[in-house]
């Protein structure tokens, strides 16, 4: 709640409350992206980009206050539910991503798109490797290479997610 809430007029308070749904836009975008990933196309490789991870990464850059690690954690739990993974795999990975971006932005804020894309590629590869490790902890063993293939497609999908999030940012959150 805003600090100067008590100083406002009733009409202003109402307007402020009515506008507060916008705080849910980043989480809603990521929910939509996660839902999009359950599209009933069965591919022979796990080649569908991890759009939810990209959403967390992009929103943590655009709106760090609206994508703290604990919100990313809850979104990750929903991702685990939707993809049938053991609970905690994507949850921990999403939370770690948001935390990484928060620390990273504090150190090297305000940079160009290409730089962010490179960092997103690193995050996608780390997501594949760490995800494989976490699945091993949870008792699900499998080969690592297909997950790294997914990191490639995730990297390729990064501009699209940035485009979507930037449009939403401009129309609702600017």
């Amino acid at each position: 709640m805003s600090a100067d809430y008590r100083l406002r007029s009733p009409a202003d308070r109402l307007r402020w409350l009515a506008a507060s749904w916008r705080a849910a836009v980043p989480a809603a975008t990521i929910l939509f992206l996660l839902f999009l990933m359950t599209v009933p196309i069965v591919l022979p490789w796990p080649a569908l980009p991890q759009l939810g991870l990209l959403g967390v990464f992009v929103w943590a850059i655009f709106q760090p206050g609206l994508m703290p690690p604990y919100v990313a954690f809850v979104l990750g739990l929903i991702a685990d539910l939707l993809f049938g993974l053991p609970f905690g795999v994507e949850a921990t990975l999403f939370a770690l991503t948001a935390l990484f971006v928060r620390i990273f932005e504090r150190r090297f804020g305000h940079h160009r798109f290409g730089f962010d894309w490179g960092i997103a590629a690193l995050v996608a590869v780390a997501h594949g490797g760490l995800g494989w490790w976490f699945l091993g902890i949870a008792g699900v063993d499998g080969p690592l290479r297909p997950l790294l293939l997914q990191a490639l497609t995730t990297t390729a999908a990064y501009p699209l997610v940035v485009l979507l999030c930037a449009r939403l940012q401009r129309s609702w959150l600017a």
Partner: protein, 328 residues
């Protein structure tokens, strides 16, 4: 509006406190996440109700918004069909002649087999069709290779039932919601299907590798070599899959042998769910405390090991509704 988090230089104590609380909560959720992973290891079936409910949320949407997805799936097939239509037609004509002869032979053999079984009084467990459903979801973006079908526990689908298409085996049900069920595909690394090599009769396990081809493991008497093109069909061991369903065709004989799946879930429209070949008997009270190793029976399956023992005495299976014979 500006929701940026308070920086360290902010003078307000309140904001500093909020930042501190945020950092502590963030660390705590990551610790909780790692703890959850450890709990998953001990108890793989936790939260199966929640998973079922999540399936029920997404499936209806994809059942309605099918048109673009079906279009995409069909486009791929259409283009390739167009380009090699003539070659395919010629190959099919040759294959048809060969298979007509084979089918006649097989018909005679089947009749003879039926007679002999009648003489020997072999009791066959009856497999019953539970539901026919569409694919209404998938997880092509994760470590778990699964599809979602639009039939669930309201239709009688339970975890651990075989799912097949007309051309061959697809997988088995993993968890169910009211109107949807998750199917573990054969390409998942946790999937294990007991098969026999049709030509030699060797028993083996078909294991997913999270890639288009599956691996043929643990082949009995592996000094008898495989050949490219050998057909693998389910053996009925383990009690989930009924014997004789086509699974894969061997595509590489060098170690480790690989096989290409017969039924491609990408192309199938409708799949059918059947009862498990030999239903899992209720575990005895003492045995329920024995931990079943996870990889032994296939991923996060319910322990189905007891069914393997029952295979030897098929007369015990309940066989709820024998399939009606056509009046001839």
């Amino acid at each position: 509006m500006d929701w940026s988090p308070p920086s360290r230089r902010s003078a307000s104590r309140r904001e500093q406190n909020l930042a501190l609380i945020g950092a502590v909560v963030s660390g705590a959720v990551i610790a909780v996440g790692v703890l959850m992973l450890l709990i998953d290891r001990v108890n793989p079936d936790q939260g199966s109700h929640l998973r079922g409910a999540a399936l029920d949320v997404t499936t209806p949407v994809w059942s309605v918004v099918r048109a673009p997805v079906d279009g995409l799936a069909r486009l791929n097939g259409d283009v390739s069909d167009y380009f090699d239509a003539i070659d395919k037609n010629r190959a099919l004509a040759v294959e048809l002649q060969a298979s007509r002869a084979a089918a006649q032979q097989a018909g005679a053999l089947a009749a003879e087999n039926r007679q002999l079984r009648g003489l020997m009084k072999v009791v066959e467990p009856q497999v019953r069709l539970i539901a026919t459903a569409r694919l209404a979801g998938a997880s092509s973006g994760g470590a778990l290779r699964s599809a979602v079908i639009s039939a669930g526990s309201r239709d009688g689908v339970r975890p651990g039932q075989p799912v097949r298409a007309a051309s061959g085996l697809i997988g088995r049900t993993l968890e169910t919601g009211g109107h949807a069920a998750r199917v573990l595909l054969l390409t998942d690394p946790a999937s294990r299907v007991p098969v026999i090599v049709e030509r030699t009769g060797q028993a083996a396990l078909v294991t997913g590798t999270n890639s288009p081809q599956v691996e043929v493991r643990d082949r009995i008497s592996d000094d008898v070599p495989l050949r490219i093109g050998d057909r693998l069909v389910t053996s009925g061991d383990g009690g989930i899959f009924p014997p004789g369903i086509p699974v894969a065709v061997v595509s590489r004989v060098a170690e480790p042998p690989l096989a290409r799946l017969v039924a491609d879930p990408h192309g199938v429209g409708l799949v059918s769910v059947e009862t498990a070949y030999l239903p899992v008997p209720p575990p005895p009270a003492a045995a329920s405390a024995v931990p079943v190793p996870r990889g032994a029976v296939g991923g996060r399956a319910k322990p189905v090991a007891p069914a393997a023992i029952i295979v030897l005495k098929p007369g015990l299976s309940p066989a709820p509704a024998p399939a009606a014979k056509p009046p001839r």
